[in-house]
Symmetry: C2
């Protein structure tokens, strides 16, 4: 547990947070994104209605989500953006920094390494790896590409907790096993394959074809969904 | 409605499909991925238990999901993989081809254009665009980069229904409006910003930082989640 704080209220909140539905946790990310986009000089308060409007959900849903993490708005006024952002960052683990290693230095990796949003939220790439000897030694975004043989040693040295897999499908399970063996606690997988990892390791998979399939499903059935509205539409990205 | 077929059973299924929960539609993609990975010579039947095991959900969930799209297994035996895959492809809109345009030719776009999974599922890139005059005219994966001024004309000519946005956040809303004006029916957005599109246009957003935040949340709260098991773990990618 990186940066574990004192028990008490924090402890209770973590107990709550671990039982949050996945859809709620996704919405927390999006609430935070909206809060971070507010003009700090102007936004002293943010209402559940404003957050609801931004995400395309109901204000009741917003209040329920935020109550679940212990943030209760001031009735008739709303939430203090700074307080609320801080509470969400705590639940998402963004009140600390995370060291990330990446395996598989192709185009997707280059896009990820250049992506400013990661660093802003506390995710820091500390090392990148590739099995291709021709890539080893190249420098991408100021990081030298390291050989896979150095994975365990570098994870130990850097204390990296998270690993990103951006290798082809056929190599992904082997890489996942190597990350697990190296002590990585959570894996973000971009390879289009279902990985098996031990229970102690968390896994989030992003299959880009799946995303396109969700979209084709929505487009195909759109005209039949008379009840579809803003809420459901953005449910497509939030739930 | 592209390639709309005869009414009757198809009509009824589409009516059902439009009311499927988002999490169910996501699992359909993953069931299909598993079915496509089966050895055709050997797998005459697939059981709900096998599908459940592959996805990390319960067999009851599998049967419920598949019944919701009208696929009922043979009791005690299972499902015929070909039949089931065909039913899922119909619901996901993969029984037809989709023409896709992409706007914003950076590293992420190059990764997407090279991604074999899209074409295998019927998604075909027909044109790519960039606002940067220095990129216009370059050829990426056999497609010339076109200027934004040609978007509407090319969408009309190609009949493209889907658009992918892989531009920086600050340009994404403008690009979305241009795609909508050009007649695009569904948008897959990779820019880290919440887009507004008319109700008639479907939207799926993939914010890569959000995915990492979901992972840090899972890792952070893992040790507190004693009840967490395979089902919940892969719920992290499925629900």
């Amino acid at each position: 547990m990186p940066g574990r704080k004192s028990p008490g209220r924090k402890e209770a909140l973590e107990g709550v947070a671990s039982r949050l539905p996945r859809a709620t946790v996704l919405r927390l990310s999006w609430y935070l994104r909206h809060l971070q986009g507010l003009d700090k000089a102007q936004a002293e308060w943010v209402s559940s209605h404003e957050l609801a409007e931004a995400l395309g959900v109901t204000a009741a849903q917003v209040r329920k989500d935020l109550a679940a993490i212990g943030s209760f708005g001031h009735p008739g006024i709303g939430y203090r953006p700074d307080e609320l952002a801080s509470a969400i960052r705590g639940v998402l683990g963004l009140d600390r920094s995370w060291s990330v290693v990446l395996v598989g230095v192709g185009n997707l990796a280059r896009a990820l390494l250049r992506y400013a949003g990661f660093r802003q939220q506390g995710f820091q790439f500390v090392a990148i790896f590739d099995a291709d000897p021709a890539k080893v030694g190249q420098v991408v975004e100021n990081l030298p590409v390291l050989p896979m043989e150095r994975l365990a040693e570098v994870v130990r040295q850097t204390g990296a907790q998270l690993g990103i897999i951006s290798v082809p499908a056929e190599a992904a399970q082997r890489v996942a096993a190597e990350l697990v063996a190296a002590g990585i606690r959570g894996i973000l997988n971009f390879a289009p394959v279902m990985l098996r990892v031990p229970l102690r390791v968390s896994l989030v998979s992003v299959d880009l074809t799946v995303q396109l399939e969700q979209l084709s499903h929505l487009v195909l059935h759109h005209s039949h969904a008379n009840g579809r509205n803003v809420q459901q539409r953005s449910g497509s990205r939030l739930a």
